[in-house]
Amino acid sequence: MKEAIFVDNLVKRFESVTAVAGVSFSVRQGERFGFLGPNGAGKTTTINLLTGLARPDAGTIRIGGIPCTDKPGAGQHLIGVVPDESNLYPELSGFDNLCFCGALYGLEKRQRVRRAHNLLEAFGLTPAADRKFGGYSKGMKRKLTIAAGIIHRPAILFLDEPTTGIDVASARKVRQLIAELNRTGTTIFLTTHYIEEAQRLCDRIAFIVDGHIVAIDTVDHLLQPIQQTHVLLIACTDAPSGILNHLSEAFPRLGFTIPRLGQIRVESATPVGVGPLVRFLEDRGAEVAEARRVRPSLEEVFVRITGVEADAMGREKITRKGSS
């Protein structure tokens, strides 16, 4: 299968900060590729380098087989970009914004009008088609920005945090649309801090931390090392101090951590018996509210590899969005 994106040893520095430090990967045509990492990991900088909004300090970029290292915009006719923040024209209506974006890619008037109507319909924005974009709600703005990124039916679509800041129903619609686009042959390059979203949408995922790719593989392969791990989450209150040490002494074959206040996480290579653990805790004055087995998820893999708590990553991003 042909390569849609090829990146080798990509480096980007901003004064003393190295935002992207020797990143290498390739994305096959028609693949859904996820770029997962905490805020400031280098995700957006990588997208900017691939889409021609930034120049690399070193490395090689090819988009659809076209060398783009020295000519950052050489592959722009093949790509569509949905940036992390809406960048359409506030003074134009939703319909006019879409038509304008279509025109930027050389679509004839009849073609762009038809596609604009279809996209407005698909995103449920037809009633707001003639309203100014500046007056749209945050969710509506996000949806129109996505529509603007695909109006010219790009071969490769870059989505930077596509579902951040929109309601559950809209996010679901966006995910369906991404899957639909992919079915028609569009290569998807997605950055997100929603690990579940990446797991659900992507064929392959790269974890990026501090400008380095620390893992890259299919979702199944990333999950494999922890598939045999058995995890139990115990919600309890009034646990005495030093409970982890007591548990470790009593159950030496199990691993114990406290991921958050009032929760004990138990890991084992063999199935974990709930009863003895609950009794042990209750005998020491703890009140156990719940004990449930959890399936190891991509989040586990991410936390193990990167050392970044998934919750913290989401919070970071939301804080940044809220303050900008």
Partner: protein, 245 residues
């Protein structure tokens, strides 16, 4: 890919969104009107002084009309990130910037004819060399727009672009021979006049309206052309250096 579709739509969007808005239309009429009235009253002479004042008012109308708009169409769009959408479009940067400046050039040319229309009510304009006049107006509009572009690209904020513009615009009113002959300027500022593009545009306009020019038309056009090319190239270099980092 049909680049002309992108080019035309960028230009049309700017004209519709920025230039045809009532504040700009009224600015385009009131500003030249105020300048004409001010200089006419200040000169204290009769209606015949209109022909002497007209080239200066035309040049100032173009200069202010073009440079003030670039802060909005370029700096503002860069600030709110909508300019990124244009940078992502598969069209050469040169074509994109010509489309972005096309509206300002047209706005400048239209502005130039407001004082001309007003003057036509009071004086006989049959002696004006219209061919030279129209070419001069177009050249001044282009060079002023590219000067505005150069400033807009160098600035990060709209207010910065407007402040920088004033550093260039107001001295040019006095140094470029629009209303005060360069010969009468103090000796130490005379060289400054010759490094400002409007000096050559004003010389052309004076020549076209009442024959009072100091340099051959061909030299004026050539130097204005050089200014246009240099300012445009410098603006593109700055965009590539600062915006596609």
């Amino acid at each position: 890919m049909k680049r002309w579709i992108a080019f035309w739509n960028i230009l049309a969007k700017d004209v519709r969104t920025y230039y045809l808005k009532p504040p700009n239309v009224s600015w385009g009429i009131i500003f030249p009107l105020a300048w004409t009235g001010m200089f006419f009253i200040k000169s204290g002479s009769g209606l015949e002084s209109i022909l002497a004042i007209l080239p200066g008012v035309v040049a100032v109308s173009i200069l202010f009309g073009t440079t003030s708009m670039l802060a909005v169409t370029v700096t503002f769009e860069k600030k709110n990130r909508s300019f990124e959408r244009l940078l992502l479009a598969p069209i050469p940067l040169e074509l994109l910037m010509i489309a972005k400046t096309g509206g300002a050039i047209a706005f400048g040319v239209v502005n130039a004819f407001v004082p001309v229309a007003m003057a036509a009510f009071f004086v006989d304009l049959s002696g004006v060399a219209w061919g030279v006049f129209l070419s001069s107006v177009c050249m001044i509009a282009v060079v002023s727009t590219f000067l505005g572009l150069f400033i807009a690209v160098a600035a990060s904020e709209v207010f910065e672009a407007q402040t920088f513009s004033n550093f260039f615009r107001f001295p040019m009113i006095f140094l470029c021979g629009l209303f005060f002959p360069i010969d009468q300027l103090p000796l130490f500022v005379k060289p400054l006049a010759y490094v400002l593009p409007l000096t050559y545009g004003a010389d052309l306009l004076h020549g076209a309206v009442h024959g009072g020019h100091h340099m051959p038309f061909s030299l004026d056009f050539f130097i204005l052309g050089l200014f246009c090319a240099t300012l445009f190239a410098a603006s593109l270099w700055n965009i590539r250096r600062r915006w596609i980092v």
